[in-house]
Symmetry: C2
Subunit: 336 residues, 2 copies
DNA sequence: CTGAAAGCGCTTACAG
DNA sequence: CTGAAAGCGCTTACAG
């Protein structure tokens, strides 16, 4: 492949001029620019990204760090981020690091990111303290999604609000015995989403003077199958609740399956409401609190690119709104 | 951050020796290596990836090109590929290019990949002729998944075999009026999966002397929602089939939803079999032909890395086996 | 086993 | 508006 010097010779100018002309920098005469473009096209010249990165210090690559690519939420975030990055001529270096605790320490180490990316997008990942320090010392823009961090801006939804809204929807329909299926078997301080959603449920119940029976709050691991398991447990009891709030649609779909297995009709025998508006929610008529996942990926990326461009983006938390989507899985209780 | 020269000075050796020692190259005395390692650790030295790429011509980055990250199948492939690449010290540059026809031409252009990656993984993407040429001219290893290409090795399943196997399962149960829901509204020669799967169904029917009524073969777009739509159409008729083969589990889940809406019991009134073994298949008791998606991502990546290492991997198509997973969505027809 | 030096292919002040 | 030259930070024959 041809190098910048070949183009310079062909156009009869210096390599500096070729560099300026091809990047659209000002202070190049139209005539010269045309000559250079013609030569570059003729020679099928493409600048070597490694060489220009070394010289300029810019890679035009953004690191995108996720715990899983296979979960609906993360795939949506990646999709939104990738779209905006591509529009702006940036590339995506994907780090699918897993969510394992200590053993991940080595995965996100300095050699992975150092000098390799211009900025980092951290998608709903509970960072270890060492990782947080590392990211700080990289001294490049960082934006997080889902999990606020004092060091950087964050885009997220109001987790507390989602389950509040879901719970109040059920209360508004007349339910009083309401169960909750959460998404974390091992509550941890550094990943607030599960705790926040659980608290949203309890807050709403308390505000309306309703009791929460300890046995009607159960925990899964966010997957549909665990929703089935804990759903069977919760709905299999004689004193089962008349309605259930699930911390995610994937859990809620598991609960719908559990209801079906137990011969319970939805919504006549039990109402179910989820969080997310997953692709499958519409299929199963699941009432849910919709969150704009792809759009959160886009927003975070726009913020990140502003920071790359030198703008001060602060450390604010941007909270995007969620909306109640009414379908057929919720209705007033039949025996009030 | 410190440069190689700082380490060289601190260790009292040349930069060439630092480079060799740190990369574990032979012909460095243990004593020297120890000195260098100590100095590097002390200075927290990390080699600049751009500088070493420019000097060596190797980036240790692999381009992973997909049409979508949000579909189950692609997320699984990415996950498997990413895992193997990380184990071998390679990075993932993700290209989420979309599946739009002509307008994608510009997306996968030479500047995206040229000198940026050591190899490319093409995940179930119908390449345009221009893209194919471009990839060839890059002169780096390429492996495809799902769609065979004469230029490169491919990892895939036997698409024909999946629907054959699914159809023969239904025939074995005694069904004779069997419908088919395919995954492509616009059949195209360059993406053989939809056509192969449809043919597998027809072949199996023909082999057993069974008729395929034209009206019992309908097409969706792979999504669960389109499965619902065409499922309502297919199962809503008085002469509906007693069993349905779906080209994917996502379509099959839509059909299950259609059956439910129509008040049909599964499997008593209609049997349904899918392809994939999607996460949700187990939840809904869907009988299916399982394909190992993550493993296909891993296999293709191992093949790619062999080629990067200089081994001749040929242009073979590796076909990985699929297996029938029996659940509760299929049974003998009630009125034979 | 080790070092001096060229080279990878750009970009960027600096000078004009 | 344009060019000569230094520099980005490594790796790699080559020589010893």
């Amino acid at each position: 492949m041809s190098r910048i010097e070949d183009v310079a010779k062909a156009a009869g100018v210096s390599t500096a001029t070729v560099s300026r002309a091809l990047r659209g920098l000002p202070k190049v005469s139209e005539q010269t620019r045309a000559k250079v473009l013609a030569a570059a096209t003729e020679l099928e010249y493409v600048a070597s990204p490694t060489a220009s990165s070394l010289a300029s210090g810019k890679t035009h690559v953004v690191g995108v760090v996720v715990p899983y690519v296979t979960r609906w939420y993360f795939a949506g975030l990646i999709s939104g981020a990738s779209e905006v990055l591509r529009e702006h001529g940036f590339h995506v270096l994907l780090f699918d690091v897993g969510d394992e605790g200590p053993q991940r320490a080595l995965l996100l180490d300095s050699r992975m990111l150092f000098k390799r990316v211009d900025a980092v997008l951290v998608l709903s990942l509970r960072l270890h303290e060492a990782e947080r320090e590392l990211l700080c010392r990289l001294n490049i823009p960082v934006v997080t999604v889902g999990v606020p961090d004092p060091n950087w801006p964050c885009v997220r939804i109001d987790d507390l609000g989602t389950t509040q809204q879901a719970t109040e929807h059920l209360i508004g329909l007349g339910h009083t015995r309401i169960g909750y299926i959460g998404g974390d078997t091992v509550p941890s301080m550094d990943f607030p989403t599960p705790a926040d959603r659980a608290r949203g449920f309890r807050d709403a119940m308390a505000r309306h003077g309703l009791d929460v029976e300890p046995s009607s709050v159960v925990m899964g691991d966010w997957s549909p199958l665990s929703g089935l398991t804990v759903g069977l447990e919760l709905l299999g009891r004689p004193d089962r609740p008349t309605a259930v709030v699930a911390a995610s649609d994937e859990l809620a779909l598991g609960i719908l399956a559990a209801a079906r297995q137990l011969g319970l009709r939805v919504p006549q025998d039990v109402s179910v409401v989820g969080i997310d508006d997953h692709e499958m929610a519409e299929l199963y008529g699941l009432t849910t609190i919709a969150q704009p996942v792809v759009e959160q990926g886009r927003m975070a990326t726009r913020l990140l690119l502003s920071a790359v461009a030198g703008l001060d983006t602060g450390h604010d938390v941007a909270t995007v709104p969620t909306t109640l989507v009414l379908r057929t899985s919720t209705a007033p209780p039949t025996q009030p």
